[in-house]
């Protein structure tokens, strides 16, 4: 027997120290009863937004872990250029990008189809973002040209891996029809495998992914709407990653777990009270000012917790390009609130019926606001309805006050246009989310969009914020950051600082250590 053979025999006979292979299945717990629509152009709820980002790509993307406009990098497009007036943009696609399953290679036809779909309000929930698009055309199988009616502050922002920027398979959409929303086909690192309603969504690794096969083989996206159940499942090791609570108590307790890492990251979702300036009694500026003075933002911050929230200073989120806190926003003053109410003829207080969601986190925030306004004599009579019904009813202009939480691409134009431009007023053909019927700064918002001088553009956005606050179309309340928890051995593959999909982006590099 040779030495080599003897060693081999010994190796087979002697017990070896156990070396566990790294796990390749990621189990995620999400605060949802079920998924809604996995068609990325309709994925507007947090549970849907978080998961579609793992299945789709866009022409460009935020560098994983970031949502800074300065970190936009190539994704399905290798390169791009624009005309001197920035109205014509040409994108050159990567070659050899494969869709999931048997849906073949991505071509310019799919990109044109996807962007036209995003711009069509019958086939997309984000068509408003594409209002400035004139033409989207395929020059050749790997080149797409976009022509704009007017320049927009950040075209790349609209085309990132968020909302309408996701590229779908034309063949799959046409073949699957409505079923596409429950079993979508993209080019991302993970592909739809199965969906068990009210239980879980299963994803398999897309081995032909153009950035290389993912290190994880499978993702199980489990629906656990109860915070307590999700916490217990994580503590028991049944989950590797879970949607957390935007609450200081939760963060502090979870951080004590040595096997857990709490990720608190951007964007801050801005919560505002949108006041319908056309409806009684809110058509009286004194009543709106009374509400603004009654709101106690420092108290809200203390309640939510400093680690997961921050105090806003304007009607657009902190960190948006163009944000300014120098705008004359009324600060908490109960005496002034009461005096204004008395002046407006409501010395004995007033009651306003408000439609609000059952969603525990938003309902809790609203209850704090309700108590704050009550101290000034303003009673909010909450009509609490199911979350989808709430979205439907507030878009039907049925609530004079709308509490709304949102994060958008961090350039002032998007938020200002969607929430405060008269074109976006609810119940109009071009409606987006202008619940207040605000029209205080239309001219500035429009002028800033096409302003080539960056300084002038910033100044216009700041004037717009001042005018909206002077009219009190909305009262800022609080900004809450995203909070998730993961097992200490789960490595995203990048530092997580922000994610516009409102959840950690799981990429081909994500793995267990």
């Amino acid at each position: 027997m040779t030495l080599r053979a003897a060693l081999l025999a010994a190796a087979l006979v002697l017990p070896l120290p156990a070396v566990a292979a790294p796990r390749t299945t990621l189990v995620v717990g999400m605060a949802a009863q079920d998924v809604g629509r996995l068609d990325p152009h309709f994925a507007v709820s947090t549970p849907d937004r978080a998961v579609v980002a793992w299945m789709f790509n866009a022409l460009v993307r935020f560098k994983p872990g970031s949502m800074s406009p300065g970190d936009i990098e190539p994704d399905l497009a290798e390169s791009w250029e624009s005309s001197r007036d920035r109205k014509v943009w040409t994108f050159h696609l990567r070659h050899g990008v494969r869709f999931h399953g048997d849906y073949g290679e991505l071509t310019a036809d799919d990109v044109v189809f996807s962007l036209r779909k995003s711009a069509d309000h019958n086939r997309s929930a984000v068509s408003g973002d594409f209002a400035a698009f004139d033409q989207i055309e395929a020059i050749d199988p790997y080149t797409v040209r976009i022509t704009l009616k007017q320049t927009v502050p950040s075209l790349l922002g609209i085309l990132t891996n968020y909302g309408g920027g996701f590229i779908v398979s034309r063949k799959a959409v046409e073949k699957l029809g409505d079923a596409f929303a429950r079993a979508p086909i993209g080019t991302g690192p993970f592909a739809y495998a199965s969906l068990t309603p009210n239980q879980s969504l299963e994803l398999d690794a897309h081995t032909a992914y153009f950035r290389g096969a993912p290190k994880l083989a499978h993702i199980s996206y489990r629906f656990l709407p109860s915070n307590a159940s999700r916490d217990l499942a994580f503590e028991n090791g049944e989950l590797d990653l879970a949607f957390g609570m935007q609450d200081q108590t939760w963060v502090t307790r979870t951080r004590r777990n040595p096997n857990a890492i709490v990720d608190v990251f951007e964007p801050g979702e801005a919560a505002l009270l949108h006041l319908n300036i056309t409806q009684k009694p809110l058509d009286d500026i004194r009543v709106r000012r009374a509400i603004a003075y009654a709101v106690n933002r420092p108290e809200l911050l203390r309640w939510q917790g400093a680690d997961v929230s921050r105090q806003p200073g304007s009607v657009i989120p902190i960190g948006n390009l163009g944000y300014t806190a120098d705008n004359g926003l009324p600060q908490h003053n109960l005496d002034k609130a009461r005096a204004l109410l008395a002046e407006a003829g409501y010395a004995n207080g007033l009651t306003i019926k408000v439609i609000h969601t059952q969603l525990p986190s938003m309902l809790a925030q609203m209850q704090v606001v309700q108590a704050e306004l009550k101290r000034a004599g303003i009673t909010l009579d909450l009509q609490v309805v199911e979350h989808a019904t709430y979205h439907q009813m507030i878009r039907q202009d049925l609530s004079p006050i709308v509490f709304y939480n949102a994060a958008r691409f961090p350039v002032a134009d998007i938020y200002l246009t969607q929430f405060y431009h008269s074109r976006s007023t609810v119940k109009t053909p071009t409606a987006v989310t202008n619940f207040s019927h605000c029209n205080a700064a239309d001219a500035e918002i429009d002028a800033a969009r096409t302003e080539p001088d960056e300084q002038k553009q910033l100044a216009l956005w700041q004037v717009a914020q001042g005018k909206i606050i002077a009219r009190l179309c909305a009262v800022p309340l609080i900004e809450t950051l995203q909070a998730w928890v993961r097992r200490a051995d789960l490595d995203y593959g990048f530092p997580l600082k922000g994610s516009l999909s409102l959840g950690p982006v799981i990429t081909e590099a994500t793995h267990f250590k």
Binding site: S226, N227, A228, D231, L232, T249, W250, R253, E299, R302, W303, Q358, P360, L363, A364, Q367, V368, Q370, A371, K374, D381, L382, Q383, V384, V385
Partner: protein, 276 residues
């Protein structure tokens, strides 16, 4: 008096009566017993454990749990009493008229009642509240609707035998109207049975209200309800378990008390158990 004495001789019933009296007194005296306003938030005092200034602790908004339980008892009792009274009135009348009239009318009415009985009370309540919206009056309507069919059945059965009795036939022979025969001569003879069931159904009403509030279909915030408190507390079960435990115990005490009283009433009115 003999009836009440017979009832209270049963120690279980006495305990039930005491439990119910405690809850009723707590609800009636809530404005004086509550150490704090049940709706007033104190963010600095959020999630305080039981003890000290807050005997039963505070919730996530810094509201006093004891105050909310005392005020919540009012909601539970108001809903239980009004919904079951309405059910007795409507269901009892339907059952009496149906049994008295007999024939096809009786058949039709009882089939409708059977359909209503086929729905579990929580499901029927859930459908009604989902359709009408969560509000105090709608909760009363929902719970009353779930209890109408059982009371119709309970009232009808004795009427079927009573209407054959000589005193009823004598009344008819004297030319009394049907309404007079029903409500003056028959009603007093079935009232005790209906009231016994009423006390037992009050416990069901308390449970149904708590269940609907627990799933978010209860009275609007910030009105305190025991079911709503349990639901809110469940969100913080790992950090502040008392938020769910105290309202849960309150529901247990009231439901237990009402069931004990109901059982005692039933035993006291049952001739087979008389003298035992």
């Amino acid at each position: 008096m003999r009836f009440i004495r017979a009832m209270l001789r049963n120690p279980t019933t006495s305990v039930g009566v005491v439990l119910c009296i405690v809850v009723v007194l707590g609800a009636l005296l809530a404005p004086w017993l509550s150490p704090h306003d049940p709706a007033e938030q104190s963010i600095l005092d959020r999630l305080q454990p039981p003890g000290g200034e807050f005997l039963l602790g505070t919730d996530t908004f810094g509201r006093d749990v004891l105050a909310r339980i005392l005020w919540g008892a009012r909601i539970s009792l108001v809903i239980a009493v009004t919904s079951i009274s309405a059910a007795i009135l409507i269901g009892g009348s339907i059952g009496m008229v149906s049994g008295y009239a007999g024939g096809r009318f009786d058949l039709l009415v009882m089939q409708v009642m059977d359909v209503m009985l086929s729905f579990p009370s929580l499901i029927l309540g859930l459908i009604v509240v989902a359709l009408l919206g969560p509000a105090l009056l709608n909760l009363v309507i929902a719970i009353a609707l779930t209890a109408i069919a059982p009371f119709a059945r309970i009232a009808r059965a004795p009427v079927l035998s009573l209407k054959q009795r000589a005193f009823v036939e004598a009344g008819r022979a004297l030319g009394f109207s049907h309404a007079r025969v029903l409500f003056v001569h028959i009603l007093p003879n079935i009232l005790s049975e209906v009231l016994v069931m009423g006390s037992l159904w009050m416990a069901t009403a308390v449970r149904t209200e708590a269940s609907l509030s627990f799933i978010g279909l209860g009275v609007k915030p910030p009105t305190p309800t025991w079911g709503g408190m349990m639901r809110d507390g469940f969100e913080n079960i790992l950090d502040a378990p008392w938020l769910s435990i105290w309202p849960g115990l309150a529901i247990l005490v009231l439901v237990l008390g009402l069931n004990m009283v109901g059982d005692g009433l039933r035993d006291a009115t049952d001739p087979k158990l008389a003298g035992t």
